[in-house]
Subunit: 357 residues, 2 copies
C-alpha cells in the first residue's frame, strides 16, 4: 500500500497559530508534534511501500523540514506549484504511484485530522485495502453524533463481506440543518471523512471518465522517464497552469460506480476550528483545556481553551472562551464563535496587515 | 517647596504587569512612561527645592534607573529597608527635609496616581502651599461621583480664605455602602486622596504628639552630620528594626488639630485595578481600550481592555474583558472581577510559582 497525505491546506480558522506559511497541518495544535508529523507517524507501522506528501510550493520547505527527523527514505514530499483542491493532488499522486507499481493500492489521508485510536485506525485501513483489492473505491465514513452541516455525507446501502462496510448509494453534499437531522435519524448516513482507499488503477480509471481534461494535462507524468524530482518541478509548473480546481468528492466520488464506505470507529475529528479542540483533548476539573501553557490558574472560570504559547495563563471570572497566544498576536474568542476567527483573517487582509497572515 | 513621592507600594491588583520588583508605580500602565516617571515629571515645572522619592530596598535599583534619564540632581531616591506604611516614610522624609531647611513646605504625593489636568494639579499644589504656610495640614480632597467604599473620606466644615478650601471636621475611614451613600448625599464629604501639603515643622510637631515612638526612633536622622547616602543606609537598617507600620491617616491626620481640605478638581484616579483604566483612558467606538497593543481587531466585541504587550490583539464575540499580555504570563479577567486579580497572586504564592510574583 502507498500512503498519499494531502498536506496543502491553508486553513484560516486556527489563526493566529495558523499562518499562510504555517497552516494547520504544520502546526502543533496539540502541543508537541505537528498534525502532519502525527499523520505520518500514524501510518509508519503499516510499513507502506511509499509515503507521498502532497503540498504546495509555499509550504514545501517547512513540510520537508518537519519530516526530516524521521530519516525515512520512503517519505517523499511533492509540491504542487499551486493548490487546485483534492482531485488534481490525488490524480498527481496516482500517476506517480502507477508508474512505479501498476497494481498498488493507495490510501489518501488528509494531514490535519485528529485520530484517537491509532491502532483501530490502521486496522480500518487494512480492511479498506482488502475492499479496494475487490475493485471498490473506499471512503472512510464516520458515524455522525450530531446533525453537522459542515460535512458531506454518504448513504450506506447493502452490506459487503468486509465487516462494517457497505456499498454507497448516494453522496450528499453539506446539508442544510433539516436535511442533516434527517440523515442523523435515518441511521445509515455517515460523514465523508475525506479519507479514501483504492487501487491506483481504479481511481485513474474513474478520473479518466469523470475528469478527462485533468488526466490529459497530467499525461506527461506517466512517461516512465519522469522520475527525478528535478525534472518534476518544471513539468508541474507547466501542467498546473492548465488545470482547474476540483474536489475529489464532487469531481469523482459522486459519479463513480463501485463505491464502498467502511465505518471508521476510531475517534475522529477534522479539528475544523479552535472550537473542535475541547472535543478531542481531555479537560481539567473546571472544564478547561490548556495547551502549551506553562501553568493554568483559574479563579472561578470554566470551560476555557487556552493555548498558552509557553506562558502562564490566568483566567478570572470568565467562561467559554478561546484564548490563543502566539509570539506576535493574541486571540480572545467566545467559544461558540470559533468559526468567525476567519473574519479576523479577512480583516487583516483588508487592512493590509500581511505580517500577521 | 519640597516634594516627597511615596513610591514603595507593592500592588498586586495589576498582576501580571505588576510584580514584586516592578509594582504599579514602576509600570508603564498607560504605555510609555511609568507612573513614577509621570509623577516626577508632573511636579518638575514647580521647580521644587528637592524631590525625595521614598521607596524600599527591593525596588530601589529600578527606581533609581527609571529616574536616571532626567539628569536632575534635585531628585533623591531614599530606600527604606522595608516598607512600614505611610507614616514612617513621611516622617523619614520630614526629618531629612527639616535638617536642610527648617522652614520648608513639603508636598506628599503617591507615585501611582493618575492626574488628567496637570496644570490644574500644580495650581492646586500652590494654593495648598499657601494654606500650609498658614499652619494647616492640607489634604487634597476629591469630590466623589459614586459611593465608593474603597477610600477614606474627609468632612469639610467652615470655608477658608483660599478658594475651594475648608477646615476638616472629621476624617472617616473606608465606609460601608450605606455610609458611603450618606456621604455622597451630604455633599461636603470628599475622598481622601492621600496627597498632602504642610510645613515640615508642622507635621513633625503632630508626629511627635501622635507617634512619639516613631519620632524617637528617627531622632538620629536629625543630627546635622547625617547627610551622605552611605551613612544613611546602615542607620535606616537599625532604625527600621524598631518601628511599627502605621498609616499617616490613622496615625496622624485623624488626631491632628489644624487640618484643611482643598478641593482637587483636576481629574484624578488612584488606578486601583485594571478595572479603573477604562475610566481614565479614552476608548474606541466599540468601547475598547487598547494599551501597548500593536493593533486591535474587534469582531463583534465590546468594552474590552487589552494590554497587548506589543502584540496584535484580536477579540471575537466577547465583551467586558480585561486581557493583559506580558512576556511570561497572560491574564483574561471579567471586567467586573478586576479586584480578584489579587487572588491569582495569592494562588501563585500558595503554589510556589515565585517566578511569576
Amino acid at each position: 500500500m502507498y500512503i498519499v497525505i494531502l498536506a496543502g491546506g491553508a486553513g484560516t480558522r486556527f489563526w493566529p497559530l495558523s499562518r499562510r506559511l504555517q497552516p494547520k497541518q504544520l502546526m502543533s495544535v496539540f502541543g508537541g508534534k505537528s498534525m502532519l508529523q502525527r499523520t505520518v507517524e500514524r501510518v509508519l507501522p503499516l510499513k507502506p511501500q511509499g509515503i507521498l506528501v502532497i503540498t504546495n510550493a509555499l509550504q514545501a520547505a517547512e513540510t520537508v523540514a518537519q519530516l526530516d527527523y524521521l530519516h525515512d527514505a520512503s517519505i517523499e514530499v511533492i509540491a504542487e506549484p499551486v493548490g487546485r483542491n483534492t482531485a488534481p493532488a490525488i490524480a498527481l499522486a496516482a500517476c506517480i504511484i502507477a508508474r512505479r507499481d501498476s497494481a498498488a493500492v493507495m490510501a489518501v489521508l488528509p494531514a490535519d485530522h485528529y485520530i484517537r485510536d491509532e491502532e483501530a485506525f490502521r486496522g480500518t485501513l487494512l480492511r479498506a485495502q482488502s475492499l479496494a483489492q475487490q475493485g471498490f473505491l473506499v471512503t472512510l465514513g464516520i458515524k455522525p453524533d450530531r446533525p453537522e452541516t459542515g460535512y458531506g455525507y454518504v448513504e450506506a446501502g447493502g452490506e459487503l463481506c468486509e465487516a462494517g462496510s457497505y456499498q454507497v448509494t448516494h453522496f450528499a453534499e453539506k446539508p442544510v440543518l433539516a436535511k442533516a437531522l434527517e440523515y442523523l435519524a435515518a441511521g445509515n448516513y455517515y460523514w465523508n471523512s475525506g479519507m479514501f482507499v483504492w487501487q491506483t488503477q481504479a481511481v485513474l480509471c474513474e478520473l479518466e471518465q469523470c475528469l478527462p481534461d485533468l488526466c490529459l494535462a497530467l499525461q506527461p507524468l506517466r512517461c516512465p522517464d519522469v522520475e527525478a524530482q528535478t525534472a518534476l518541478e518544471p513539468l508541474l509548473e507547466a501542467i498546473y497552469g492548465e488545470i482547474k480546481s476540483e474536489s475529489i468528492d464532487y469531481g469523482v466520488m459522486e459519479k463513480a460506480g463501485k463505491v464502498a464506505v467502511i465505518i471508521a470507529d476510531f475517534g475522529w475529528s477534522d479539528v475544523g476550528s479552535w472550537g473542535a479542540l475541547p472535543e478531542v483533548i481531555p479537560s481539567d476539573a473546571a472544564g478547561h483545556v490548556a495547551i502549551n501553557a506553562r501553568e493554568l490558574i483559574s479563579i472561578d472560570a470554566v470551560r476555557c481553551l487556552a493555548y498558552g504559547g509557553d506562558k502562564l495563563v490566568a483566567l478570572v471570572g470568565v467562561k467559554d472562551l478561546i484564548v490563543v497566544n502566539t509570539p506576535d498576536a493574541l486571540l480572545v474568542c467566545a467559544a461558540d464563535r470559533a468559526q468567525e476567527v476567519k473574519k479576523v483573517v479577512e480583516t487583516l487582509v483588508e487592512r493590509g496587515f500581511t505580517e500577521y497572515l
